[in-house]
């Protein structure tokens, strides 16, 4: 039977009223946890694992799949409106998205995020259906040397976020890399920069730092700058819907973001964050109005939002076809499969074909549900912005604090949140960009570990980085990305 026929069979099962109900429950729950900073899909599915004892596998996986997709939708909402990313994949969205929201264009920003997520999720799921074997080959072709090259390539994207003062941007990047060093060194098991706090041994939580730098830092900055008794109301300017111009500027970033996100999701060390950096970089470089970046460019929302959703579809490829989990959520999903005595891998498609195809079909359905669920809500969400600023920022503080505390119920995490918040405030006060911090925090440890792994395998021989063709190509690309903009500057209108 061809993939298409099996997929149609999957749709027949997924479209029963009961299974539609599980899908709706999954996407709604996913959207909700996506909004809450701290609580992510991995934790939620882990807490829901006991239900595998009561539900049949089809229903459970339909719900889990919807939940995973939904979390990516939900986190963009708070990223854009409140500058508070709910998941790490939406951190980059906050940069342009929040600027758009503040200049009264919150509704088009939310709409392009929702439609972009839909487009990316649908194309990603199509790729999952038809290109899985190819992507699996790519996933295992990447070893430590290739990953190191990939991280260097990703580092060059930071150049798009350094801001007008290069040295300030580089300082922010260095702060991020330093934060990434905190904790037990993966390769030797020794603690670094933990200062005797056992809570720091696992490193600092990315979402806690992101919420601290973005949301708490912003709230402190606003409080320090403005007389809060002067109540200002941000009005929603223009249409609630995307204009023709917005559509014209969004569709290409959606497609490019999708193309970037999917392979990254399939890579064991890829994740949803790195493709959002790359997408932001490309959109800024390709834009006819690069100056608009930093004031709220719609391309900077459309691209990264598509990238993170398509990465989620990419994660499912090695999970289903190899039993290879490439994200924390995928690792929990693997546990769920094992609870049912199912072993993801080549045999899964043969042994439990109907289950897999129903899951894939339900992802298409869940994606459509998310769009229907999210678009009408845009009008409701943007009303948040008409809350007077003192109340809004007070609310953001309460919301971030609750979200971060709920994960581990740890007072230490709260301390960390407010310390990074204060660093975020100082950076804003002295006009340092905060985005490079996040890039350093994510890429720094990955680059270091893979460099050292590659050199350990080669016994200290650096030539592995040029003798491995994929690594060499990635290094050449990275060099081109750094040099090209200097040599060839497009005319800026």
């Amino acid at each position: 039977m061809s993939a298409l026929e099996q997929l149609l069979g999957g749709f027949a099962t997924a479209l029963t009223l009961q299974n539609l109900g599980w899908s709706l429950l999954g996407v709604s729950l996913g959207t909700f946890i996506g909004i809450l900073p701290g609580i992510g899909p991995a934790l939620t599915i882990a807490l829901l694992l006991p239900i595998t004892g009561y539900l049949d596998p089809t229903a459970a996986f339909i719900m889990f799949g919807g939940l995973y997709y939904g979390a990516m939708y939900g986190s963009s909402t708070t990223s854009i409106l409140l500058n508070t990313p709910g998941e790490s994949g939406s951190i980059i969205t906050a940069i342009e998205g929040n600027l758009m929201a503040r200049s009264g264009r919150g509704a088009p920003a939310l709409a392009t995020a929702a439609i972009g997520s839909f487009v990316a999720g649908t194309i990603g799921t199509l790729l999952l259906t038809f290109c899985a074997p190819l992507v699996v080959k790519l996933a295992i072709a990447f070893g430590p040397a290739e990953y190191f090259a990939l991280m260097i390539l990703a580092f060059t994207t930071a150049s798009a976020m350094l801001g007008s003062h290069i040295y300030k941007g580089l300082t922010a990047l260095a702060i991020g890399i330093a934060m990434g060093l905190i904790g037990i060194d993966e390769l030797t098991g020794q603690a670094r920069l933990a200062f005797g706090y056992p809570q720091l041994l696992d490193g600092v939580d990315l979402v806690v730092v992101a919420v601290g730098l973005f949301a708490v830092g912003e709230a402190m900055h606003v409080a320090s700058r403005r007389d809060l008794r002067e109540v200002t109301v941000e009005t929603v300017k223009g249409s609630l819907w995307m204009s023709r111009e917005d559509w014209r500027r969004s569709w290409k970033p959606w497609l490019r973001g999708t193309a970037l996100g999917f392979p990254f999701g399939a890579l064991p060390a890829g994740g949803t964050e790195i493709p959002t950096f790359l997408s932001y970089f490309f959109e800024k470089k390709l834009s006819k109005r690069p100056r608009e970046f930093g004031t709220g460019a719609i391309e900077g929302v459309a691209g990264p939002e598509a990238a993170n959703n398509s990465a989620v579809a990419g994660v499912l490829v090695p999970l289903l076809s190899l039993g290879l989990p490439t994200s924390a959520t995928a690792a929990i999903l693997l546990v769920a499969f094992q609870q049912y005595g199912l072993q993801p891998g080549p045999q899964l498609f043969e042994a439990s074909g109907p289950l897999v195809w129903t899951l894939i079909a339900s992802l298409f359905i869940g994606n459509a549900m998310l769009l229907v669920l999210n678009l009408p809500l845009v009008g409701v969400w943007v009303k948040l912005l008409s809350i007077p600023q003192p109340l809004l920022y007070g609310g953001i503080l309460v919301f971030s604090t609750l979200g971060v505390y709920s994960v581990n119920r740890s007072a230490f995490d709260l301390g960390l949140l407010f310390i990074t918040g204060f660093i975020g405030y100082l950076m804003r006060r002295f006009e340092f960009p905060v985005a490079p911090c996040i890039i350093g925090l994510i890429l720094g440890p990955l680059a270091e570990q893979n460099l050292r792994r590659a050199l350990s395998i080669s016994q200290g021989d650096w030539s592995v980085f040029v003798t491995h063709p994929i690594a060499l190509i990635l290094f050449i690309l990275a060099a081109t990305m750094l040099v090209l903009p200097v040599l060839w500057r497009p005319k800026v209108n």
């Binding site: 991995a42 934790l43 939620t44 599915i45 882990a46 807490l47 829901l48 694992l49 006991p50 996933a139 295992i140 072709a141 990447f142 070893g143 430590p144 037990i184 060194d185 993966e186 390769l187 030797t188 098991g189 020794q190 603690a191 056992p198 809570q199 041994l201 696992d202 064991p268 060390a269 090695p318 190899l322 039993g323 290879l324 989990p325 490439t326 995928a330 690792a331 929990i332 546990v335 094992q338 609870q339 005595g341 072993q343 993801p344 891998g345 080549p346 045999q347 709920s406 581990n408 119920r409 570990q449 792994r453 350990s456 395998i457 016994q459």
Partner: protein
């Protein structure tokens, strides 16, 4: 954590409804601390104990608490401090924690707790990719003996079970274990990808994690770390092939320091009754956990011996001074 509390209340209510009489030895409340995030082995162990104990009426209410971090040493330190003298709390732990205490230089060790029982475990497998020229464990041992640096071994975090086994095997093979080329990966997924892609020579992990790839033939299992052949697993043991190493990634429960003999006995009785129940046997079968039950003083002696062995191995491979 509303959701979790809701689920717990639900299971509690469920268990309460199906229970007709509470046996005389039932405890009132029991807190089980899983020193890891939800979803992993320790968390699943804690939740299974809670379910079985409550279902069998061995305790009226069982709560599971997750205190994650640093190979479980964050949870261990908190447990030894906060629950001192508390006879109604158990901490789930295992071989990984023994190693983590040493590598993290944790001020609190398992010697500061009251051993209750070893419950379950899993054996480790040594694998190579299907295309590898190494066909048997003997080939791998010979390669290690010739030039151990060239044999890169991928597995989980530094100082964990996989790393310890790599060190033990290198020593038993007569190779220089101080030069072991172990490449730690975060999470089973990354290590698996590196082995499938042929980026490392061999890999080590718990059998369950790679069972699918071994059965489908993508990975070739060279040996399993059990003492005797495991039922239903067609892999020769390390010992059968002349490598005198036996290692189980065991999981156990310990009680707080400073509890009275009566409190200790009540916990031992409850755990023993749980282990004998059919519900626990079903859990072991469902999750494919091996029954490695060993209780009380025997377990205490085992814990000391295991601590000595891990310390010696970690010193050899240079992770602990």
């Amino acid at each position: 954590m509303k959701k979790r509390n809701f689920l717990l209340t639900l299971t509690a209510a469920f268990a309460g409804a199906t229970m007709l009489a509470i046996p005389a030895l039932a405890m009132d409340n029991l807190t089980i601390i899983a020193p890891a995030k939800p979803g992993g082995g320790w968390d699943q162990t804690a939740r299974s104990i809670a379910e079985v104990m409550q279902g069998a009426g061995l305790a009226k209410a069982v709560t599971v608490e997750n205190v994650a971090g640093a190979g479980g040493t964050v949870g261990l330190a908190q447990f030894a401090d906060k629950n001192k003298g508390d006879g109604s709390a158990l901490l789930v732990n295992g071989l990984v924690m023994v190693g983590a205490v040493l590598t993290n230089q944790s001020p609190v060790s398992l010697a500061d707790t009251t051993p209750i029982a070893r419950l379950t475990g899993e054996y480790e497998v040594i694998v190579v990719p299907a295309a590898s020229p190494l066909k048997t464990l003997g080939d791998l041992a010979a390669a290690m003996k010739t030039d151990i640096g060239k044999v890169s071994v991928g597995g989980g975090s530094a100082g964990g079970t996989d790393h310890i086994l790599a060190g033990l095997v290198a020593q038993a093979a007569g190779a220089d274990a101080t030069k072991l080329n172990y490449v730690p990966f975060s999470g089973g997924g990354e290590a698996l990808a590196a082995i499938l892609g042929g980026h490392v020579t061999a890999g080590i992990s718990g059998y369950g994690e790679w069972e699918g790839q071994i059965k489908s033939g993508e990975l070739r299992a060279l040996g399993i770390s059990s003492g005797a052949k495991v039922e239903g697993v067609d892999i020769p043991t390390l010992k059968e092939q002349g490598i005198e190493v036996e290692l189980a990634n065991w999981r156990s429960v310990v009680a707080a320091p400073g509890i009275s003999d009566d409190q200790k006995k009540a916990l031992l009785d409850a755990v023993d009754a749980m282990h004998k129940s059919d519900a626990w046997k079903k859990v072991l079968a469902d999750k494919k956990w091996l029954d490695l039950y060993m209780a009380g003083d025997d377990f205490g002696t085992f814990l000391k011996a295991e601590n000595d062995r891990v310390t010696a191995t970690l010193k050899t491979i240079g992770l602990v001074q």
